[in-house]
Symmetry: C2
Subunit: 193 residues, 2 copies
Amino acid sequence: MECGFSPIVGFRFSLHPMADDFVAIIKGALEETDTSAVWMHTDDVSTVIRGKQVHVFNVAKAIALNAAKTGKHIALSGTFSAGCPGDSAGDVYLDMGDAVLNNDHTRQYVSSQFALYPMNNPSYMDMIYREVDRAKEHGVFNESMHYASGIHGDIHDVFNFYEEAFSNARSEEYKHLVMTVSMSMNSPSHGGR
Amino acid sequence: MECGFSPIVGFRFSLHPMADDFVAIIKGALEETDTSAVWMHTDDVSTVIRGKQVHVFNVAKAIALNAAKTGKHIALSGTFSAGCPGDSAGDVYLDMGDAVLNNDHTRQYVSSQFALYPMNNPSYMDMIYREVDRAKEHGVFNESMHYASGIHGDIHDVFNFYEEAFSNARSEEYKHLVMTVSMSMNSPSHGGR
């Protein structure tokens, strides 16, 4: 278990193009994304990016968007984490500025599901309900379901909500926060959106 | 947020065949699996199964194995949950016997990553370290990494470990447990295993 009490945010994810040429799509999406503001490592199952929150969310969105622009059915699933005790502070890219490096505003419908896990926080259910209410206010709430909540809309609105929820669900007192997301783009199940 | 204080276990997952014929592979894997011991619902992003723990893990493994038998590169990612406050007890399949319905013992290499999130438990890090140690004892530990631990080996050994870890990381006092898993099979990145 390596995480930490530093302000670093991490996202461990897998990009799944449902296509025979999945290797080319994954490599293409990574090449088209400016990842210079985050630390990145890929193994045989997933990729992890770490750095300032603003860059971690920006890079995650850009990779998803670049993969989706192939028109193929793309899934992206992963876990955002911050404040885990036991982190090595080594892989830190916290000296970067705040200007995001990926600024493609192409619209892309995303249907997704997320769950918040504020760790060691007795009032964690209240925080979860509050962020689900925020999704409704932002117009990105799709539906309630077991173990998750459905969030959908344009990729930029969806990622804005996720970044805001991730900021709001942790505090100085309760630093360790985990948020799982599972996204689907260009799926035949989305009903043509 | 719908989960609960009943003994029901749930698994919300997505199956991702990295192939143009992903729809046929997903449908085939589901058809070849006996899912009659679990409640199941599929939406445009994921599928959730709920029931007795033994059946939830058995069905999850069978779906992964049946998809992998196509020889295509398959990913399965999802979240096991139990004991979440706020659950509706409605969709419960707890009156089933304990005999598992899927008994295909075909060997299949799996490389995977998992994370345990015991909720509202002040000693949650100890529980995580203990289960990672158990993986090492069982010979399925692959490597340490940020935010997760690598677990690999034959699919039956891997799932046995996951079910055991999920049992051991919750208690009467701390009922709410979440475990994320991300699995990869038949990947060109697995080095021929």
